[in-house]
Symmetry: C2
Subunit: 420 residues, 2 copies
Amino acid sequence: MNACIINIGDEILIGQIINTNAAWMAQQLNLQGVNVTQTIVINDSPQAIIDAVEAAKKVANIILITGGLGPTKDDVTKHTLATYFNMKLEYHAPSFENIKILFKQYGREADERYHSQANMPVGATVLINKTGTASGMWFEQDDCIVVAMPGVPREVKYLMQYEVLPKLVERFERPTILHRTLLSTGKGETDLSDLLEQFEEELPPHIKLAYLPNTEKGMVRLRLSASGANANQLEAEIEKYKQQLQDTLGVYIFGIEEESLEEALGTLLKERGLTITTAESCTGGNIARKLTSIAGSSAYYPGSLVAYSNEVKNKHLGVQQTTLEQYGAVSEECVLEMVKGVQQLFKTNCAIAVSGIAGPDGGTSEKPVGTIWIAIANEAEVYTKKLQLGTDRLQNITRTTNIAMNLMRLMLLDALDSEI
Amino acid sequence: MNACIINIGDEILIGQIINTNAAWMAQQLNLQGVNVTQTIVINDSPQAIIDAVEAAKKVANIILITGGLGPTKDDVTKHTLATYFNMKLEYHAPSFENIKILFKQYGREADERYHSQANMPVGATVLINKTGTASGMWFEQDDCIVVAMPGVPREVKYLMQYEVLPKLVERFERPTILHRTLLSTGKGETDLSDLLEQFEEELPPHIKLAYLPNTEKGMVRLRLSASGANANQLEAEIEKYKQQLQDTLGVYIFGIEEESLEEALGTLLKERGLTITTAESCTGGNIARKLTSIAGSSAYYPGSLVAYSNEVKNKHLGVQQTTLEQYGAVSEECVLEMVKGVQQLFKTNCAIAVSGIAGPDGGTSEKPVGTIWIAIANEAEVYTKKLQLGTDRLQNITRTTNIAMNLMRLMLLDALDSEI
């Protein structure tokens, strides 16, 4: 089961849009045990399409094509493939029915001008696309499957999920494949693999562990994949190893599957009936934004302060003038007063305070760019941490945000000692 | 001048990382008048590399390869290409010199184990890579150019910009190509093209206008591209049309080239010696984050408040209890009091206040999800606007942020009437 992905579209080829379809499709195919040997991006030309299909046939028995199925002249995929497979186009009533339903949702009527969108190659399996007016097509010849889908990412996702992947699973006899993903933060890939050395050694050959780091989200996804004949047995087995992985890494695991760190922190606060606020200097509101990106965050988050200037730190958070003069705004002393100040100001149980030099300029030899102090507090204790990051402003803001949220999570779990 | 891009790497092929190199490279090549006919992603295997190069030769005379130049066993690009072009690998002193310099920056020493990284094919032009330890290679055979670069995006950018693109321009005689980009906001692509109908009609055939929308940033980039033999004349000509485009669109243009809306707003504030603050409910700190993402924003931004709960709106911003009860937090009355309150709290000249239902839940029949009120104020006036957006929480936050910043910009330019 080798697949080749062909993405058709000038806007990808000139770099106007980034080809996210290929990555998403490859991930989904991999999850089903299909190996992607190649992805090709070509323009909307019949010759390019035929050449790409011919080349793909040499390395794959599954060829997935996206793009070029729209109603305009540029869109030549359907005609090209029909000709290539020697099939006639004929009016396909269910496709037109689908177009009518979609138009109705927008209060419009689909007239005969849209009939040509519903003409489909006779002999191909038509894949009705509930998210768009262009149906997908499934061709099969000489043990090679060629599927054509529209290029809009939302439509690709729909057709892959509800039509193509189930059909592929049905078509090829293959073992059951199961996946479980645990999300870790606070440790890099190398540290994790040290901690997991024994766990990995003891994994049976049909269960694999993949490390998938995501710098932007400050986490490493740990994905267990198991394949075997007996679904029930496999299910029990992967659950066992998932639990073992969870036990080995303890608090470094903050969530599962598609969760985010801010979601995990929010859930913890909600469960414990606690509230949180923030006093942000160099992160400029980014922690607040993350916390409030979660629907329902008003249950634990009343509001917060961005304290950029020293005057605001002094006047609204009660940071003493002498602290600012003696230690500076980027100091342990300052964030300690900030965190206490904001906790009182918004009357919350928990608080996060941050002050640092995000860069790219503004550093001194004593406090270079990337020097950042974090303080976190609950009602019982306060914890501080100094970061020494790089010179990239946005990267510093992102990393500080993730680290601060994780410290807060660890404090709630009474696990700050795992920090050291 | 047709190019084919070949990206080598399993992590792209399995969808673990999105292929941003291809899009960036294609953009840069297009800007130099090089047409990209195809991009291919393959895995780290000699056969796949040779097959891809052979296939690329049929559609392009410039083949740009990224990836597979690292020091590990997986990295086979250099050996494969050397064999393909029948070249020996030999120790290349300038490449090792470069490795030593890079190691020194990290306080480390490059010993002989790194010699193999500096072995280069004899007969290829070596492209020294100041951003990484793997040098690039430029092969030329039968009027076809094959260039190999490492896969790290930063390194691709360096080598393309300082080595590959200048060499391509030198190698091929071609007309001068110039570009000018203006950034617009507040109008969609269709509205803009209506406004620019006459302008486009009057453009000479050697000057083209491209619309490049970016939903995330709430803008449409308008790129003028001119090609011709006489560089000086072309320069004068494209400047003239740029000015004409600017005059036609007036305040809808907020910046040029790589500027952002928050940067443009910051520049305006700085020029006028004004300060700004924000009182954010549903955007949860996102406007503050955007404003402070600009280095030097402390000159005009002292701090701000995220007022999520009604209590915070009342207690810290002075929104009256009767306002909250009678009109609700999502109302013109509320944002009017919020904007005045925050302006006084932080003693700034300007202020932005936002309150709305970001979703996906929490709407009523009277105020459905996506109902959002914005108020902006300077010392002389206050302006309000009601938005009716969709149900996607993050999209609503992003769009509201962009619209609010643009309203503030228009107020500073005394151009709020263009809003209607």
